[in-house]
Amino acid sequence: MWRVTTFIQFAVLGLGLGAVYVGLATGLLLVHRATGIINFAQGAMGMWGAYVFAQLQVDGTLVFPVGQLYLPEPPGVVLSLFIALLMGLLLGILAHYLVFRPVRHAPVLAQVVVSIGLMVAIQALVVIRFGPNNIAVDEVVPRVDIALVGVAVSGRELVMAVLMVGLAALVWVYLQFTRAGSATRAAAENERGAALMGFSPDRLAGFAIMLSTVISTAAVILGSSITGLNPENYTLIVVPALAVLLLARLESIALVCVGGLALGVLQSELNLVSTSEWWPTWAKSGLDQVVPFLIVMVILFAFGKRLPSRGSLQTVRLPDVTLPRIRLLPAVLLIGGAALAVSLTSGQIRFGITSSMIMMLLALSYVVITGYLGQISLAQLAFAGAAGFTLSKIATAWGLPFPLAVLLSSVVAILLGMLVALPAFRIRGAQLAITTMAAALAIERFVFGNYSLTPPEGNPIAEPMIGGVNFAVREGRDLARLEFSVLVLVVAALAVLLFIRLASGDTGRAFLAVRSNERAAASAGINVRMTKLIGFGLSAFIAGLAGCLIGYSHGQLSAESFEVFVGLQILAVAYVGGITSFGGALVAGLIAPLGILYVVLHQLFEMGNYYALITGIGLMITAILHPSGIAGEVHRAIAALRRKQRGGPAGAGTADAAAEPGDDPSRKDPSHAS
């Protein structure tokens, strides 16, 4: 057994991580107070300045997003710190004007999606500019041991905690005691209130984002001196910080401090306890992500509806949806075209086309859950992964034959999807996004990345056989067999057929009614909870099919295929393609990572992380300017062309039965900015 002193020492060590949580959660709180936006990119934004700091310390290079400056010699810590915080400040201003201001009155969906786009883009930019590897960071706070109640503990973590709590206290003073701060709080209740106090809500928002970025930058710089810098970890550290934000009910800085430090200490102690003999091996991995997830769940179930939501002028609407119909000619052309494409190509190109079909399914699962049902789920890839890992177990260990194994695995995905739907009974919008992201991360680290469940060399998957015919992707030197592409095409076509049948029926209409107005839906007789369960189930089923196909296409499964980041990138392309239609999912499949466009571009030039950067930026642009995506714009252009051809006035073709007023019945109009 350990002595009490060990516990105390680990508690103090945990304060270091806790200080980072305090800094990020304070930033999140400030942004939320001033704009109503939950900024998923908070960690990534803080990370940029931290990288600038680290690079200055390493070799005196001042790195900008484009270009760099070579200083004659590495500047001192204080100067480097100043430059890094200045960079954070500039990033905050840029983010305000280019990203957050345009969506301040947009639906929550657009706000969440935009901040995720920013997060993906900054993470990619960091990898491009600073490289993907861990950078060791010099100590900012010197390492000294202090005697605390007679125990020698690390002074560095104590100092960090004091520093971050101090910064948080400054923010509290700003919000509580300055006129601008009161105006910011007033704006959170009512934007006119701030205007009446003589402040532009817009400027206040800009200042808040700037300040929050500086504080988060400081937090990441301090944290990185303990852990080193790694692009993925500090982007995703926003998830525990979001848990702290929820714990603080989105408004109490005191609770942010207590909660952040407590979470850090708790994780540190868990790390200690999990080294003991009685702790099961399978439960050692991913604890640091499971704890925040559990906290989020507990808070949401305990407080759920009482969490304040910011009152703002929600005058804008979600992108429109047209109920789909099955038309024979387009279906034949599409399936025929895909069949022709895979049979005329080979090797990498054929593999790219096949991957596009699989990615189309993943995008379609986002269309169901977000486009139709209006729920933000960031766990779609976790559903896919759950099905894939189940497949590798049951196809190999139990020897279940192909179609049965896939169906059974997808049923596992359905069950997981319905489990994630449970929080959606009580919460929606950004809070649901937080929950699903925390869930996805917990599943990724605790299950997929757990070596006692998933061997590091990957899970082999038995080849799909039907009646003695082998549909495996590889055979000998052929890395993309036609048989496999045909298999994928058939599965994808069936899944799309299923989607269209449901979406065009009573189920799809019920989805759209719930998306539009839950209260009115219930008063019209819709069982809102059941409808959400069906929606999550359907989207998880489609994602599960995709997960199984991903498994077959690699011949084995590893955690990397289902990382949260890959999921966010697919969300990005789904949004760019068009989140509200099958056509959008189709476009998304074509432009998705590993899809055909990616493969072709990759052969032309080395893209590396530029692809992720482009998807992140594309996501932001789409969410801000064209919420119905490429497919929606094309649809609109075709409709406009048809009207022109008929020679009638605008809308005459579709609206002969329209009532007198509001005589612009163009349904495709996704106009979204106010």
């Binding site: 109920l323 219930a522 008063s523 069982n527 069906i534 579709t654």
Partner: protein, 256 residues
């Protein structure tokens, strides 16, 4: 025979408290089939709260019976399925669906059992049903219009049509005529009578006194969360408490 077993709506002792304030204080109200019953009272009297309580959208004490079935412990959509329909003051249509689709939502609200039929069953558009309810509210030619392109008055009429679709034993209409001009309002009164004559009872909340007193068989008047009067419109016009609480001026001034 106890009242609970009778046809129509019987709401008894409905009590709603918001943070210690009694928004509804033991409100008891009956609507028999075929009748149009009015519920009037000054702003903040608790009329909409009563509708929310009866339809399950706010937590309330008291009992709600419809056609002999007790509903007060059911979820809103179950009450709707039992025939208790409501409209909303602000319309609350599904704004990016067409009028026809809005009505279809209520006529066939999906659910787990419907999934199988959606995938494998035959499609029918139930266009007769949609056309019928739309004709009832006088919007026969608006089927394919997107709901948000309608005027507020028209949106409320679609809300009434939506409430009538599917099984409907009782209509609770929350200010359905606000936003209509006086001619439209008069036409709406005619339709209300026709609807009630067809079977379902109607509870009408409105500020338009000539509409309420002109069309209703019985009237309830609320003030500060309590029912202060129940009787015929003619009695209401003469009742001093009603005149003092709500009308302020003798009825003759506002009625014709």
């Amino acid at each position: 025979m106890p009242v609970e077993a009778e046809a129509g709506l019987h709401a008894s002792d409905i009590t709603v408290s918001y943070g210690g304030v009694l928004a509804n204080d033991r409100v008891t109200l009956d609507v028999t089939p075929g009748q149009v019953v009015g519920l009037i009272g000054p702003n903040g009297a608790g009329k909409t709260t009563f509708v929310d309580a009866v339809t399950g959208f706010t937590a309330a004490e008291g009992q709600v019976w419809l056609a002999g079935t007790r509903l007060d412990e059911l979820a809103p959509h179950h009450r709707r399925a039992a025939g208790l329909s409501r409209t909303w003051q602000s319309g609350e249509l599904f704004s990016n669906l067409t009028v026809a689709e809005n009505i279809m939502v209520a006529a066939r609200p999906g659910g787990l059992r419907r999934v199988w039929h959606d995938i494998f069953g035959r499609r029918d558009r139930a266009s007769d049903l949609v056309a019928n309810v739309l004709r009832t509210v006088g919007l026969a030619d608006a089927e394919e219009t997107i709901a948000r392109d309608l005027t507020l008055g028209q949106q409320k009429l679609v809300g009434v049509a939506r409430a009538m679709a599917g099984r409907c034993g009782l209509l609770l209409l929350d200010e359905p005529a606000a936003g209509l001009d006086s001619a439209e309002s008069a036409a709406f009164a005619e339709r209300l009578r026709a609807i009630a004559a067809d079977g379902p009872g109607v509870l009408l909340i409105d500020h338009d006194m000539s509409l309420v007193l002109g069309v209703c068989d019985r009237v309830y008047v609320m003030e500060f969360g309590k029912v202060i009067f129940a009787g015929t419109p003619a009695q209401a016009r003469r009742d001093p408490a009603v005149v003092a609480a709500y009308l302020g001026v003798p009825m003759e001034a506002s009625h014709d």
